[in-house]
């Protein structure tokens, strides 16, 4: 009796968490799958429609546009975040007060909410009252304050600028940890061999950090594929629905048009894409982890 009690004692402690995950992750996932095969809308739970919602997505021009835009956004911002984050990390990984202070400062915006930071930038980028426009004019870079969000391309780059400001410290910090774990002795040994700074970065630091680089890139890519807050607040999907992201288009269908069945099918598609990427992430993380 006592023996069996001890053997399963642990179950009692994990049970609340397991039940929570079952109720609020697993069950909703099943519901999502079911919902994606119904015509649920504001009129009611609807009826079973099989794969119709998925076929509808296939023919939905805005769905493809939102997916393409999300991929474009991800493809544009990821290299900036990763290369920029790595260069910043090189800059601030050195010992010294200035480097350490810079590390702390560049990381500051990471702790702010993306919603708040997007609103902050709405104020700064406004073509009438915003200081960014005034600054660009005063520096002689443009004749008039740019109107950022009337053009999809320009709007996307403006959003990218603000998001880079907000999250570049995240990658930087992880890369700093990676650089520091390479170890000063390895780098010093290379220095004695007469390797220059960039040679050491290229032939020693970078190869030893492959895993960190890959994992951080995947985390960053997944984050960008799920972008919503910044576009909802800064572009509202415009102009002409050109800056709807995948999550935004799901939100629009599920909660603005109340086409929950269709929204669920779109969610399933996004889920599949993200699951592939996070499986790759898990594989790399597991393989490289110290046993």
């Amino acid at each position: 009796m006592r023996h069996s009690h001890r053997r399963h004692a642990g179950l009692l402690y994990v049970l609340p968490a397991l039940l929570f995950v079952a109720a609020f992750v697993a069950w909703p996932l099943l519901q999502l799958l079911r919902l994606s095969m119904t015509s649920a809308s504001m009129l009611g739970p609807g009826s079973f429609v099989g794969w119709n919602n998925y076929l509808k997505a296939f023919r939905d021009e805005t769905f493809w546009q939102s997916l393409a835009f999300t991929l474009q956004y991800t493809a544009c911002i990821t290299p900036i975040l990763m290369v920029g984050g790595f260069l910043l990390a090189l800059l601030v990984a050195e010992p010294g007060r200035i480097a350490r202070a810079t590390r702390g400062i560049v990381f500051l915006p990471v702790v702010i909410g993306l919603g708040s930071s997007s609103i902050l930038w709405v104020g700064l980028l406004d073509e009438q009252v915003g200081l960014v426009g005034r600054l660009l004019v005063d520096l002689g870079l443009v004749a008039h304050p740019p109107v950022w969000f009337v053009d999809a391309e320009l709007g996307m780059w403006a959003v990218i600028g603000t998001v880079v400001w907000k999250v570049i410290g995240f990658g930087m910090l992880l890369f700093v940890a990676g650089i520091q774990s390479v170890g000063i002795d390895v780098r010093e040994a290379a220095m004695l061999d007469g390797a220059g700074y960039w040679q050491r970065v290229r032939h020693i630091t970078l190869p030893l950090m492959t895993r960190t680089l890959l994992l951080t890139t995947l985390v960053s890519v997944i984050g960008s594929l799920l972008a919503f807050d910044q576009f909802y607040i800064m572009t509202a999907g415009g102009p002409r629905s050109e800056t709807f992201t995948s999550v935004y288009w799901i939100y629009q269908n599920s909660f603005i048009y109340f086409k929950q069945g269709y929204g669920a099918a779109l969610s399933m598609i996004l889920l599949a894409i993200v699951l592939v990427l996070s499986s790759v992430h898990l594989l790399i993380a597991r393989r490289g982890a110290p046993a």
């Binding site: 642990g10 397991l18 800059l91 200035i98 406004d126 009252v129 951080t216 997944i222 929950q260």
Partner: protein, 278 residues
Amino acid sequence: MRRSSTIATVPAVLALVVSALTLLPLAMTFLSSIKTGAQASAVPPSYLPSALSIENYLKVLHYQAGLGTYLFNSLAVAFLTIVLCLVLAVPAGYALARLRLPARETIFVLLLAGMMVPYQALLTPLYLMFSAIGLANSHLGLAIVHTVLQLPFSVYLMRSAFAAVPIELEEAAVIDGCNSFQSLWRIFVPVARPAIVTLVLFAFITSWNEFIAALIFMGNENRFTVPIMLVGVRQGHFGAVDWGALQAGVVISIVPCLLIYGLLQKHYVSGMLSGAVK
């Protein structure tokens, strides 16, 4: 000698430029928030306030349902999220690290699996479910969504922290006749305090900042959290945006995060490094 000092100067200058560029938007927003309402909406804008004014903050204070309501909502949801994460993750992490547990690895993977599912995809079924059981538009409902987001990290964190507690401490507790709950409460929780602080800190920041679920689940003006209130300010009245109030609102919403980061930077950084890439 001279050559090496010039080389050392380049990174220092670069670092200062980067720091200035990072701080500039925050400084400009703060300075705009203490302009008078008229100056904050002036075209073209001025860099510095000509007079110090709390007018914009007063306007946010009395915006719609009142800042107090929105702050209360944000804090209530964050508090409930913290409580849920603690109540679920501390015992789970303890059992995973220290107790006899059948199918330990499977349970661990199941608890972390939520990390692979983007919560954005779960919002529709959760919303329908919460509407049916009266949790839509409630602090608890939104806190549950935020806990879904934060639980995997919390479990991971607590498991690692409890696994690092020296076995001698546990043995001493067993000799003293402690049962598993007493050892958790008297030995493990006090030793793992830094990890618990990290858990609370991250749960707070996640909940305080979270946007899309708050936007969807809190449909009632009186339940808006601070970020959703900001969206209201940004949309303005009949197209006219109160820019001063917007800047003041942004400052109010980011100050708690900056304060926490300033005070608990070590916890923050260590938590991020342990959670993000593993």
